[in-house]
């Protein structure tokens, strides 16, 4: 059982978890703990932009979508902001009269959102029957983006003249945002004195040639949710654990397919980053980032792993790692590090430099890939007629090269790989393994 935090700590945490402030009559926002170091990491390819999209049963009507966006955007004031540089930290400022327009979709999603150039940190794109929102991680995690997309979809349906009643959990125009929506939940839930997590070894990275700059390959596989769940259950795992096991198995196959001299030069540990939605472990209604990750891994020095063994290892690891006490160690490391006077006093330029080093050391170097499962997307019945399918595309990563994200909607699971590698070897190995297990997978790509 967890020991209760002292009242003094609780008060301090509550004070520091507030991100919304007033300067005169104008609001400004502090970045949440996870986001505070992200701006320094962004660049031309590292956009930290992921995408959630919904496929409709009809072609998108642009004037209606634009009207819906204009109606719903003020409900999310903490997203209607631009990033500014302070002397010590970045901060958000309301975007004011800056127009928020629906953008054209591109062959390569998730690219070219210049977070540090004073534009919005999210955008809405339309193509054919698809409405997509692309969010920079500086602004929010997948849960926040999904809430925005659902609210936009509901308002779009109403603008089209559909009779859609209010739905629980979907924001509507005119509501007043709750103060907890913009809170920094990391700062609220940190427990000072908690030891940091153990160091993890460097992980194997796919030694693939990169795609040309400005390209980003997306491969989305659609498979029946019921069959996939049944298959997961037959292996004694949850859906996420099963998909993670298949991902690790594909990575292992890729590792052993390398020529021996090249393989010997690689790091032998295959690690998969799995983001965990902390709202399920710690109470919070934040619409900003509240996600940390766990890293199931295979050490290839110990030998080859059969799929059953990988599934068992991932299952056991996830059972022990996705617990408040375990995650609290990561929160403590990140938040208490950010609270240290030495770090706070560093000018922003030096912080950006430090952020790159820290992210390299404890972030990208420790993972071979990533699998983010947003879970089941639920819509009210009146709205589910309009939405035929969803997709979740991960942000591009030049180091891991390939990352994956998935979600389920109605009877289907949508699993997307986003890759900067020139050849889709990992994707082929992953989907062909699922197909061999008897899952009918239909695949769509942009390249």
């Amino acid at each position: 059982m967890e020991s209760p935090a002292s009242p003094e700590h609780t008060r301090r945490n509550l004070r520091l978890s507030r991100t919304e402030f007033l300067h005169g009559e104008e609001k400004w926002y502090v970045l949440d703990n996870a986001a505070s170091f992200m701006p320094g990491l962004t660049g031309r390819t590292v956009t930290l932009v992921y995408r959630l999209s919904v496929n409709l049963d009809r072609t998108v009507r642009l004037p209606a979508l634009q009207a819906a966006l204009a109606a719903i955007a003020p409900r999310f004031p903490y997203y209607m902001v631009v990033l500014r540089r302070g002397f010590f930290w970045y901060y958000f400022e309301p975007a004011g009269e800056k127009p928020l327009r629906v953008s054209a979709d591109s062959k390569y999603p998730c690219l070219n959102l210049k977070a540090r150039r004073g534009g919005y940190l999210f955008r809405v794109r339309a193509y054919d029957r698809r409405i997509a929102v692309e969010f920079c991680h500086i602004l929010a995690d997948g849960s926040g983006a999904l809430a925005f997309l659902k609210a936009l979809l509901l308002e779009y349906g109403r603008t089209l003249g559909m009779d859609i009643p209010e739905a629980e959990g979907i924001f509507a125009p005119g509501e007043t945002p709750g103060p907890e929506e913009s809170e920094d939940a990391f700062n609220r839930h940190v427990r000072p004195g908690t030891p940091g997590p153990e160091r993890v070894p460097r992980a194997f990275h796919i030694p693939a040639l990169p795609l040309r700059r400005g390209q980003y390959r997306i491969i989305t596989g659609r498979m029946p949710l019921g069959s996939t769940l049944a298959l997961s259950k037959s292996h004694g795992t949850s859906l996420t654990e099963f998909l993670a096991a298949a991902y690790l198995a594909a990575l292992q196959e890729l590792f052993y397919a390398l020529p021996p001299p090249l393989r010997a030069a690689q790091h032998p540990v295959l690690s998969l980053e799995i983001p965990v939605n902390l709202r399920k472990l710690f109470p919070s209604g934040t619409m900003r980032n509240f996600t940390l990750y766990v890293l199931p891994s295979l050490d290839t020095r110990l030998g080859f792993y059969e799929f059953e063994e990988i599934a068992t290892l991932v299952h056991l690891f996830m059972r022990s790692a996705v617990r408040p006490k375990h995650i609290a160690r990561q929160i403590a490391r990140n938040v208490m590090g950010g609270r240290s006077m030495l770090l706070r006093a560093l000018p922003l330029g030096l912080k950006d430099l430090a952020a790159r080093l820290v992210y390299k050391g404890i972030g990208e170097n420790t993972m071979s890939g990533s699998l983010s499962n947003l879970g089941e997307v639920k819509l009210p019945a009146a709205l589910s007629f309009l939405a035929e399918g969803f997709a979740f595309i991960p942000a591009p990563s030049p180091v891991c090269k390939t990352k994956a994200a998935c979600l389920s909607y109605k009877d289907d699971l949508y699993f997307s790989f986003g890759s900067l590698a020139s050849r889709p070897e990992l994707e082929r190995l992953f989907f062909s393994r699922l197909a061999q297990m008897g899952l009918p997978v239909s695949v769509a790509t942009n390249l």
Partner: protein
Amino acid sequence: MALCPNCRVELGDDARHCPLCRAPIRGDQTPQGARPAYPEQVIDPEDLDGLTSAEKRKIFLELFTVCSAIAAIAVTVIDLLLDGRPSWSPYALSAIAMLWLLVCMPLILAGRPWLVFSVLGPSSLAFLFLIDILDGRADWFLALGLPLGIIGEGAIVACGTLVAVSRRKGINVIAIALAGSALACAGIELVLSLRFAGRPELSWSAIVLAAGLPSSGFLFYMHYRIVNRASLRKLFHL
């Protein structure tokens, strides 16, 4: 309802272009073929939100013209205040006018290099002539300014034309520039020697030619025979 051929979204009935990709909309237009999962076009929405190249050029031209006008007024007023009449300011005004032409003509006539040259070539010679006669005497333009100007402009036009017509650009661009410069040096020395020594002579320019032409030849050989696909971008990328 109008449909954008690129974005495949429905637009307002009165839409004349797609607000997303700016494609013009015609009434009889409907997207053909299968529905690809992603559009074929690569679009950076922030580029569409920004100014077009023509708009940026227009703003720069306006700014530069205003700055040039301020500089011209300032030098004229200062000259009049100091000397009570135009003394040195005509030189400065000529230089400002020439600078305006050099900077603004390539922007006004963007994409039409021959037209740019046909304006700037005679203007440059006219500028030299003007500088020569401003002191009331025409003593160096015909003997030096005109031939040296023609040699300089001829070298630039010849090199530019050769670069433009070469199908594969790489080290050959350096070779052309090197050969053009060496030949221009020889021409300059010939003109100078005729003016000051009364006879054509090649001394320092002979060294330039002896070094430049073989080097240029070697670079041509490298380009067309050895490297074949070399490009300046690849060779000198930072």
